[in-house]
């Protein structure tokens, strides 16, 4: 080296080097995980603190009739499934055929929760792919979603007749999840009644 080396950068470097190294290693780790998972089916989600608690109250407009508002009280009386989606959500498109097949069994009411979406886009999405929902609530601002602890779509809640959250699934529903988790949870609700 023919140039004098300033002192300050030399001391600063190890920190920069460690940061760069950590970012690189975590990125590689994440991508390696991604590759290892790219062939496999979904894994189970973590339990939610909301399970077994009363569902948060809400009053939201109906997507297809914005002037009509629906509250949690109105939905009580029978169990229902609340499915969070958005037209911008790629995973929701993957989930859609599974959800449609389940809705067609008419096992219980499937309520759509259209989250942070443009109503026009949401309607178009339903028109293009089909509407499996008994009713779609529109939460354009995403305010009510905070109470539900929603941070991503798709997400699905099972709410019983009394308005208690009994089961929750983060990520796309699959046939395995419906068979192995949702239906047993539903039977557990209906059993003693």
């Amino acid at each position: 080296m023919n140039t004098p080396v300033p002192e300050a950068p030399r001391r600063a470097l190890p920190i920069a080097a460690i940061v760069i190294g950590l970012v690189f290693l975590s990125l590689m780790g994440l991508l390696l995980y991604g590759v290892s998972q790219s062939g496999r089916a979904d894994r189970d989600a973590l339990p939610s603190p909301l399970i077994g608690k009363p569902a948060p109250a809400f009053a939201l407009p109906v997507l297809h009739e914005p002037q009509r508002t629906v509250t949690l009280e109105q939905l009580k009386g029978q169990p229902f499934l609340l499915n969070v989606w958005g037209s911008w959500c790629v995973e929701c498109r993957v989930e859609h055929p599974v959800l449609t097949r389940f809705a067609e069994t008419r096992r219980l009411r499937v309520v759509g929760y259209n989250w942070r979406d443009e109503p026009a886009d949401a309607l178009r999405w339903l028109e293009q792919f089909g509407n499996p929902y008994w009713l779609v609530l529109a939460d354009v601002e995403g305010r009510a979603a905070i109470d539900w602890g929603i941070y991503g779509a798709p997400e699905t809640f099972l709410v019983d007749a009394a308005g208690m959250i009994r089961w929750k699934h983060i990520g796309a529903l699959t046939d395995a999840v419906i068979e192995g988790e949702l239906l047993p949870a539903l039977r557990a609700i209906e059993g003693p009644q």
Partner: protein
């Protein structure tokens, strides 16, 4: 005839030879530069040319396979069909994973040969190192293609008919979108290879850096055009009326673009002031690494996207190892060598350096933000939080927050002096123009038929950047009236940014959509536009059957356009595609698509009015033009004198 039948095998041999040549190009010149052995360094240039010739032969043979319908080639049978028109058969070459990889390698060898040809002004060790690094990258891609994604695999017995090209891709815009994009992605290999060469050498010579600047500009300009074409294609082909979806694949192209934009600015500082040395090298590594990461994300099936290639864990693992070697190796080299580089001249808090530093911080943050959003679904999955999508709610907001200060700073950049300036001078120059753009914004606020706030924000941002940039032009004209191509490029690119901001925010604010069931003769009003539905007829296409609607559009009562939206059913796969009827206008686009027949002659008809949507692409084109113009500056090509640095 017998020879023609063996062409795919010949292509195989050509690819294997190309791999061999690439390895030689990677190893010998680097060794030669390290040890100072001239004959080894001299291998670099001929190896580049030879590699280009070999890959071009393979590419020509694959193209021929499509042209003559050689369905004994699996890739051709999977992506073509005897009914597919000739023009689309040419582009079907890069319509799926294997062929697009071949195109990628072809672009890489073209860049490599171009570097070999246009590097006479550089000392031989630098040329040898740069071409050596490109050779190693090329060898990795060739190996990836040959071992996991061979486009010349045979399919026996030969099927009588092919499966046809994905109908979404049967479009003229798609003919040039991937090549442009790839030229851009791959183009970043030049600044990358240069950065590695500089790190290997242990010093950053400003004269060599000057030589890489046009390459960065050109690569970035091509990437801009590529992204712009993709956005335009999504707009008219998907028929949703949207122009950007924050899809992982779009993000994959956007990240290197942001890093490249930052690199262009930081290279300018390094070349002119000798500052930001190590930062420039890091950005060069980042821009190319992000290109590779993009390729990985698109081709590994790790992320769910509307237009990802087929998932295959072997391919994913291969690129991941490659990615790890390239990124890890270059970062390690950077960490070891960068601290030895010279520091530039000091600069004050109010100087052009500071502004460009802010530009770089904002662009780099935006890039990190896009990376995080793109990888978050994977992270959530890895942490057991389930599969989620991160969409416009996240990206839109974050991007607005980061781009607002960038837009606010742009006009100051050109008007502030290097090293030290009083903040008062540029502020005084710009104050009247800030006032004028604010006034325009207020007028726009009250004139907007809807979305007044976003409209005003768009006009404010666009007016401020455009007027501030023109203020710079004016002061140059008054000073001496001389513009270097570099300055002109900057002016074009910044005006492009203004035009883009205008388009993006105004279409967001004033976009109108109406979807109704219409019977022939029925009329529907959307804003100042009237749509008259004339009915639907059957119209056969070359490889599809279409229902073609006829819609008369009137603006303020006078006829504007007759549109023919189509709904096509493709013969080979039975896929249904919509083809929008579009009337393009400077101030607004009118777009009509037809959906389902609803019985009784009624059809679902969707009508969009998209004000200023063309400005988005016009802005992008202006930015690309800026990149090309700046690259044309003679200064970059002047032969450096033998004076000491």
């Amino acid at each position: 005839m017998a020879v023609a039948q063996l062409l795919p095998e010949l292509a195989q041999v050509a690819l294997l030879l190309a791999l061999l040549v690439a390895i030689l190009q990677g190893v010998l010149p680097l060794l030669g530069a390290h040890r100072g052995i001239a004959p080894l360094m001299a291998v670099a240039r001929p190896a580049s040319y030879l590699q280009l010739a070999l890959v071009a032969i393979a590419f020509a043979i694959l193209t021929r396979g499509f042209v003559v319908h050689d369905f004994s080639m699996r890739y051709v049978a999977d992506n073509s069909n005897t009914l597919l028109p000739l023009a689309f058969r040419y582009m079907a070459v890069w319509g799926a994973h294997e062929g697009s990889l071949l195109l990628w390698v072809l672009m890489l060898t073209i860049w490599s040969a171009a570097v070999a040809r246009f590097s006479r002004s550089l000392p031989m060790p630098v040329v040898a190192r740069v071409l050596g690094v490109i050779g190693l990258v090329s060898a990795c891609f060739l190996a990836f293609m040959i071992f996991t994604s061979n486009p010349f695999e045979r399919l026996l017995p030969m099927p009588a008919e092919g499966r046809d090209l994905n109908p979404l891709l049967q479009d003229r815009g798609m003919m040039i979108h991937p090549p442009m994009l790839y030229v851009g992605y791959i183009g970043f290999v030049v600044p990358f290879a240069f950065a590695i060469a500089a790190l290997l050498d242990g010093r950053l010579d400003v004269r060599w850096l000057r030589w890489t600047r046009p390459w960065t500009n050109v690569a970035w300009a091509f990437l801009t055009i590529g992204i712009m074409l993709g956005s335009w294609w999504a707009y008219y082909e998907l028929g949703w009326g949207g122009w950007w979806f924050w899809d992982p694949v779009e993000n994959a192209s956007f990240m290197p673009w942001l890093a490249g934009a930052a690199l262009i600015h930081s290279q300018a500082v390094t070349e002119k002031r000798g500052s930001f040395n190590s930062w420039t090298l890091l950005l060069a590594i980042a821009a190319f690494s992000l290109s590779l990461l993009g390729a990985f994300l698109v081709r590994s099936g790790v992320l769910t996207s509307v237009h990802s290639f087929a998932a295959d864990p072997t391919r994913g693992l291969f690129i991941l190892v490659f990615l790890g070697l390239v990124i890890g190796g270059s970062l390690l080299l950077y960490v070891l060598r960068a601290p030895r580089l010279e520091d530039g001249k000091p600069f004050a808090a109010t100087s052009r350096e500071t502004l460009l530093l802010l530009n770089n911080l904002l662009l780099a943050t935006a890039c990190a933000m896009v990376l995080l959003g793109t990888l978050y679904p994977l992270l959530a999955d890895a942490l057991g939080l389930g599969k989620v999508s991160v969409g416009p709610p996240y990206f839109g907001l974050m991007f607005l927050l980061l781009m607002a200060p960038l837009v606010a700073l742009v006009p100051f950049g050109a008007l502030t002096k290097w090293q030290r300036d009083t903040p008062r001078t540029p502020t005084a120059m710009l104050l009247p123009w800030a006032g004028l753009s604010l006034l325009l914004a207020v007028v726009a606020y009250f004139m907007a038929p809807q979305g007044a706030l976003k409209t005003a924000a768009g006009v404010l941002g666009a007016g401020w950047v455009a007027l501030g940039t023109l203020r710079f032009v004016w002061s140059r004209l008054r000073a001496n009236g001389r513009f270097t191509p570099e300055m002109l490029g900057m002016v074009f690119a910044h005006l492009g940014l203004a035009v883009f901001v205008m388009g993006a925010l105004l279409v967001e604010a004033q976009n109108m959509v109406r979807e109704v069931a219409m019977k022939p003769g029925q009329v529907e009003d959307v804003g100042a536009y009237r749509f008259e539905f004339r009915g639907v007829q059957e119209a056969p296409g070359p490889n599809y059957m279409a229902d073609r609607g006829t819609v008369q559009v009137l603006r303020n009562g006078s006829p504007l356009a007759l549109l023919f939206p189509e709904k096509r059913t493709y013969a080979a796969g039975g896929q249904v595609m919509t083809d929008a009827g579009i009337h393009a206008g400077v101030l607004a686009d009118v777009l009509v698509t037809i959906g389902e027949p609803l019985g009784d002659d009624a059809w679902a008809v969707r009508m969009h009015v998209k004000p200023f949507v063309r400005w988005i692409w016009a802005g992008a084109l202006l930015m690309a033009l800026g990149g090309f113009v700046a690259a044309g500056d003679r200064r970059f090509r002047r032969r450096p004198e033998a004076s000491p640095a």
